[in-house]
């Protein structure tokens, strides 16, 4: 038996928000008479932490402590529209709606405070739950006092609404796929290196180490970003070497209906994961954030595939890289076919191998 080690690398990019945009999110805020803040948004928290992140955004945009925020995403009666928690949009798009709602509530808050203090609202700031006149901090009053005055003195409700929508980028040329507007919001970038060990007798691949670097724009909560990145790494590992709904794809036979036969990554599959977070703030996300939730499982499969090649000298380009595929590849030791300057890999997998000849010609990517 021989165990072979190998390393591979990859670099990827991924857009934030729905492709072509056109996906609105909205939020609204009301401030209670003691200054505490209720945020209403329709963003589901699927574990990604959108309740937390949007509360943090509102706290800073308003200038109040985090624990003053109540976040309600519980139903469609009280919450305005959010397109949903997908497309890496919960922080970037929905978070921007929450930020705008907080800014609009802040404007209203300062308007009341201005009346109360007889100071131009433009000369007021809100910090840690207090309204502070610029240059005259001794005159500061609490947000609670302002909210109380709004309720009991001025007969006003301090609210704010916010909506975020980048217009839909239509394809204006079917020939080239050209669009009339940028079809994405901020693009995030990542690179990854993987180290594997391959048993050349059983074909078993163990991912031993992943190094990853993500440009997250700005980590609004570093711990939650880590959760996304590490979670994505494990799902990427699953894509690479474990998971398959159809073990004999394209056949539908032997599809697994149990955890015993569908190989979701388990705790014992966990490799060493080292991650570097870099922050190049986005121009248009809340506080410079980008959305990296989804891309977190994209860089591992190509890095692991290259690492397997580095270990045993064969390319396995059907995922997952199961022990069976490793043994079949080692047995075939396929070499690319060379035709002049053209190097053709994987002919045995190609459409041309399976389709009728005239179909194959139509779909040929060959020069």
């Amino acid at each position: 038996m021989a165990t072979h080690k190998g390393r591979g690398v990859s670099a990827i990019e991924y857009p934030t928000g729905m492709n072509q945009n056109g996906d609105p999110s909205q939020a609204w805020i009301k401030i209670k008479p003691d200054g505490r803040v209720d945020v209403f948004a329709g963003t589901s928290d699927i574990g990604n932490g959108s309740k937390t992140i949007q509360s943090q955004i509102v706290a800073d945009a308003l200038g109040v402590p985090y624990d003053w925020i109540t976040y309600d995403n519980s139903n469609t009666d009280s919450s305005p529209l959010c397109t949903g928690t997908f497309a890496s949009r919960a922080t970037f798009v929905a978070g921007m709606a929450a930020k705008k709602a907080a800014e609009s509530a802040r404007t209203k808050l300062l308007e009341i405070a201005g009346k109360l203090l007889e100071i131009d609202p433009a000369d007021l700031d809100v910090v840690d739950g207090e309204v502070i006149p610029k240059g005259a901090p001794q005159k500061k009053i609490s947000v609670a006092d302002v909210a109380g005055a709004a309720t009991w003195v001025y007969g006003e409700l301090i609210t704010g609404t916010g909506a975020q929508l980048k217009p839909y980028a239509a394809i204006v040329d079917n020939e080239t796929g050209r669009v009339d507007l940028p079809p994405h919001s901020a693009i995030s970038y990542a690179a990854c290196a993987a180290e594997v060990e391959v048993d050349d007798e059983t074909g078993h691949v163990t991912v031993t180490h992943l190094w990853q670097c993500f440009d997250v724009g700005h980590a609004l909560n570093p711990t939650l970003v880590e959760g996304q990145i590490e979670g994505g790494a494990m799902q990427g590992l699953g894509l690479s070497v474990l998971e398959n709904c159809y073990p004999y794809y394209p056949s539908v036979e032997h599809r697994g209906g149990q955890f015993g036969s569908y190989l979701a990554p388990g705790m014992e599959d966990l490799p060493q994961i080292d991650t570097i977070i870099i922050e190049n703030p986005s121009a248009d996300g809340p506080y410079g954030a980008k959305g990296i939730g989804e891309m977190a499982n994209n860089p591992q499969p190509p890095a692991i595939t290259a690492a397997v090649y580095d270990a045993i000298g064969v390319w396995i380009t059907e995922l997952p890289i199961t022990p069976e595929r490793v043994l079949r590849a080692l047995e075939a030791k396929a070499k690319p076919r060379r035709e002049g300057k053209v190097v053709i890999f994987d002919e045995e997998l190609s459409l041309a191998k399976f389709a009728h000849a005239d179909v194959a010609v139509k779909f040929d990517v060959h020069a």
Binding site: Q20, G42, G84, N221, G232, P250, A303, A306, V359
Partner: protein
């Protein structure tokens, strides 16, 4: 203290660790009926007989719903994006995948609901099925979808998503080497620990309250109201706390059927999918078939890329046309490739419809193009880091469909990984930045590709 940037604990963290977060299955509603579905055992078949009356006659069975009960049976979930509908809420005269729901029942207990499903009389006439997308275009392939075997409605009229840029013929002529490869990532289950689950309560005022594990409350609201032909104020979707989604809970898989059963029975209903239903009947990440031919120079410049993508959509379109378009926009990866020829097809097969999953459309293409780059590096004998850094997107580079990039980070992320694993880069690559191309990083063939970020 600034909240943004701080390592604050989760808003719902204490609720999570004390078991007090309320997921849909945890909502207790007295008098709730259990829901179960009759699902197709066949991959492709005509339904020649369907008689639900034996189930309806069982004591304790309060409602059975079939296609005939749905006010709007077919609703295009992405009709706003010009993607028409093809999938009936419940099978109507034919089934196109194993596990497709045909009828749903609501009964006093889970056992009784299972018995009611078994009591429904149904007969099928099996048809030949199609599973291999590489054979879908063949003249003798069985035609398995009303639109043919591949989606024909891109921008209302195209049967493929097409991207063209520059002069692909020039790139392939000029290339020193052309490297071709085929890439096939698999279908993946989302496997949220919380399976699909829904409860619907018919309220006294005629409204429906839907407790949903959806990732998109308003999206589900819109889908339910469309099928039921109700204004948005007649339905309240309650949710927001979800036991994992990963894209699979954008499908509105249970809500509409439960709403119809609640309406028909006048009772609260609950449907919690078993893990087997989740594994075998819920949508998956799509399998993809990608063929790439890259025209490269011997010193590692990628002059052009030809790419063919087949996206295995399963039996219906769902979000696949959207996913393929996103895929096409990103098929150059994190690099500038001046000459592009991309054709992509959404292909139907008789498997469970595929849907969005983390990285939708791009996970596949990242795997394909990055593995391809690793192969090119080996083929040319070039360091894989340096091959990437050479072609890496820079400020002012343009995407396959011509959009100018303003803040790409490919260069710093690759450099950071090289540092992390102790991979020595030459000075040229160690010191290069993401700034606008110049010098050795601006060969003649890229000059005309640069756009002005200021105009972006």
């Amino acid at each position: 203290m600034k909240a943004v940037g701080a390592r604050l604990p989760r808003y719902d963290g204490i609720a999570h660790v004390t078991g007090r977060s309320t997921y849909v299955d945890d909502v207790r509603i007295p008098g709730t009926l259990w829901v179960k579905a009759l699902r197709s055992p066949h991959h492709n078949a005509a339904i020649t007989k369907l008689d639900t009356s034996p189930a309806e006659k069982l004591k304790g069975v309060h409602a059975v719903v079939t296609a005939a009960d749905v006010p709007l049976l077919v609703y295009g979930h992405l009709s706003a994006l010009g993607i028409p509908g093809d999938e009936p809420l419940l099978a109507d005269g034919e089934v196109r995948y194993q596990g497709q729901p045909i009828a749903v029942v609501a009964a006093e207990s889970e056992e009784l609901a299972m018995a009611a499903v078994e009591a429904i009389r149904i007969e099928y006439e099996e048809r030949p099925a199609l599973f291999d997308i590489r054979k879908a275009f063949d003249p003798d392939a069985p035609v398995i979808h009303e639109w043919g075997n591949w989606y024909p409605h891109f921008e209302g009229e195209l049967d493929r998503r097409q991207i063209r840029k520059g002069d692909i013929e020039w790139a392939f002529d000029k290339a020193d080497t052309i490297v071709q490869g085929v890439y096939r990532p698999a279908a993946i289950e989302h496997v949220p620990l919380e399976t699909q689950v829904c409860q619907v309560v018919p309220e006294a005022d005629g409204r429906l309250t839907i407790y949903s594990c959806t990732q998109a409350l308003y999206f589900s609201l819109g889908v339910v109201c469309a099928h039921l032909q109700l204004p948005l104020n007649k339905v309240k979707v309650v949710g927001g706390t979800v036991g994992g989604g990963f894209g699979g809970k954008v499908d509105t898989a249970t809500e509409t059927m439960c709403a119809l059963l609640a309406q028909k029975s006048g009772r609260p209903v609950k449907w919690r999918w078993t893990r087997e239903e989740e594994f075998l009947c819920s949508s998956t990440r799509a399998p993809w078939h990608m063929e790439i031919a890259d025209a490269v120079t011997k010193d590692g410049w990628i002059l052009g890329r030809k790419m063919l993508t087949l996206h295995d959509s399963g039996a219906y379109a769902r979000f696949s046309p959207y996913g393929l378009t996103k895929h096409s926009f990103h098929h150059a990866g994190a690099y500038t490739i001046p000459n592009i020829h991309f054709d992509g097809y959404v292909v139907f097969t008789n498997r469970v419809p595929t849907t969005a999953m983390r990285g939708f459309g791009v996970t596949s293409v990242s795997f394909a193009v990055e593995t391809h780059l690793s192969r090119i590096a080996v083929e040319l004998g070039i360091d894989p880091f340096e091959l990437r850094l050479k072609n890496a997107n820079r400020i002012g580079d343009t995407t396959p469909n011509g959009v100018v990039l303003t803040d790409p980070s490919t260069v710093p992320t690759i450099q950071a990984i090289a540092d992390a694993i102790g991979h020595e880069l030459t000075a040229e690559y160690r010191t290069t930045t993401r700034d606008t191309r110049s010098g050795a990083f601006l060969p003649d063939h890229l000059v005309s590709q640069l756009g002005n970020p200021e105009e972006h």
